[in-house]
């Protein structure tokens, strides 16, 4: 396949990936700064679990009788009515919000070690829940697994538009509120004393995180979201001399990682999701060599 054919075939998945590569590293920069990098791993898995649970519960939710067709040429099994992205998004949203509420409650009550343990345990439960729910799904685990890992060929224009809107919204919200979001994590006492509302800022950050994680997990898949949320922000944190510079550089590195990942997928005929992780890891390592900025 030529590069032109590759780009033509994967136009919408690549555009969706660009949206995720802008939105996720910006969100990740706040998560890493606050010492909550584990959220970047746990939340996409929780969203994936929500999607899998949505598949498993769909026959009951829609009150319809399922007739499962045979596998298609790609090995995927399709029923007469696939659950809509809206329904799956709602399922993922419920679980992601529940996880965020749990993390926030533990943040106020527990020591740092306990908080990390809660997030790690959430990841473990979500991973097991995703596998079980996928097996219980009348569509079969293969179909669910394909969606969770970012079934790139099924990513259409609406997915790209969704990720584009999310990326734009994330960039705008950050541009307008990054000082308050930063202060709420850096020095919440000062924020309260000076008449600010750090809880409102934290809520805005949680909403941004949930939106990015859910939309990204539903389109490009959970695996690229793990990488895009954590690796660019982690790689740049020690190089950045200011929060403003950090927030500008993180999406640039995310885009470079996603581009490299897509290039690896094209060159070696690899799956896009794992290639994006590899691309992020490579540019993350290279970023450690750049001068401080």
């Amino acid at each position: 396949m030529s590069l032109a054919d590759f780009v033509q075939l994967f136009t919408w998945p690549l555009l969706a990936l660009c949206g995720a590569a802008i939105a996720a590293p910006i969100t990740g920069a706040f998560l890493v700064s606050r010492g909550t990098s584990f959220h970047g791993i746990a939340l996409p898995q929780v969203a994936a679990c929500g999607v899998a649970v949505g598949f498993a519960l769909f026959p009951y939710a829609s009150r319809m009788t399922w007739t499962v067709a045979g596998a298609d040429d790609h090995g995927h099994i399709h029923g007469v009515g696939d659950p809509s992205h809206l329904y799956l998004g709602a399922c993922a949203t419920i679980l992601v919000i529940a996880a965020l509420v749990l993390f926030e409650a533990k943040r106020a009550q527990s020591s740092d070690g306990d908080k990390s343990a809660v997030v790690a345990a959430t990841f473990a439960v979500a991973s097991g829940g995703s596998a079980l729910a996928a097996q219980l799904s009348p569509l079969g685990g293969l179909h669910v697994d394909a969606l969770l890992s970012g079934e790139t060929l099924s990513t259409g224009p609406w997915d790209a538009v969704l990720l584009g809107v999310v990326a734009l919204g994330t960039a705008l919200l950050t541009w307008r509120t990054w000082r308050r979001l930063t202060l709420a994590g850096l020095d919440p006492d000062y924020a309260v004393a000076s008449g600010g509302k750090p809880r409102r800022s934290n809520l805005a950050l949680h909403a941004m995180t949930a939106t990015v994680v859910i939309s990204g997990s539903l389109t490009v898949g959970a695996l690229p979201m793990f990488a895009l949320l954590v690796i660019p922000a982690m790689a740049l944190r020690r190089r950045a001399g200011s929060m403003a510079g950090y927030l500008r550089a993180a999406p640039l590195l995310g885009l470079m990682g996603a581009t490299l990942g897509a290039g690896l997928a094209f060159q070696f005929d690899l799956s896009m999701d794992a290639s994006v992780v590899a691309g992020c890891a490579i540019v993350g390592l290279v970023a450690r060599l750049i001068p401080r900025f």
Partner: protein
């Protein structure tokens, strides 16, 4: 209205700070009880007491960070410039000195001027976590000069500073006092602000006592 907001009442403008029959503490544990005091607007109050006596509890309550378990707290201003010890800030944030000094404000020129007044002209763009302890503390004092309020709480701002840095911090506090700000200044060495203090608040034995600075100076 939240409990925290309900616990603090904005008093008349002539008032600096007033606590009436206040019990201060954490959860159900009272650290200071029966606190009654009135601090007039524009006073410079040095807050003294041995470690663990409850100075930080009092300061946090005065700054609006700790609702009283009982009683009431009134302040003349809604917002407070809180100057904590520098090591209390989140160390992972890659923030510059300028960004810390500006806080949530977009007024970077004012932050730059405050940093320069505290001898940090060459460190404006430096990363906060790479500054020395004394420089970081001065950045936090600069932040208190940027915010638009007449109530400032210093929590042992010079405890980790050299003489030169301490003098710059005291000069900044003196400037704000001259502008009419009410200042609470916690210190283990009250003599360092003997020329500034108008009242001295001693925290000991689960309570506080407020005395005129001149009479406090005469006390052996």
């Amino acid at each position: 209205m939240t409990d925290r907001q309900a616990a603090f009442v904005q008093g008349p403008r002539i008032l600096g700070l007033s606590l009436q029959d206040a019990t201060l503490g954490y959860g159900k544990r009272a650290v200071l009880s029966g606190v009654n005091l009135d601090v007039p607007r524009g006073a410079f109050v040095s807050v003294t007491g041995v470690s663990g006596a409850g100075k930080s509890t009092f300061l946090r309550a005065a700054a609006g960070l700790l609702p009283p378990l009982r009683g009431s707290i009134q302040r003349g201003t809604r917002s407070v410039a809180w100057v904590p010890q520098a090591d209390s800030l989140g160390a992972l944030h890659p923030v510059s000195a300028m960004e810390v000094a500006a806080g949530a404000s977009r007024n970077t020129e004012r932050a730059r001027a405050a940093l320069e007044s505290l001898g940090l002209k060459d460190e404006v763009r430096s990363r906060f976590s790479r500054l020395s302890g004394g420089q970081r503390q001065r950045v936090l004092v600069a932040r208190a000069l940027v915010i638009d309020t007449d109530f400032i709480v210093f929590d042992e701002p010079t405890s980790a500073l050299d003489d030169e840095s301490s003098a710059l911090v005291r000069a900044a506090a003196a400037r704000r006092k001259a502008e009419g700000a009410t200042i609470l200044y916690a210190t283990h060495q009250p003599n360092e602000v003997a020329d500034l203090e108008t009242l001295r608040l001693s925290v000991a034995g689960g309570g506080v006592s407020l005395s005129d600075a001149q009479s406090a100076l005469k006390t052996p």
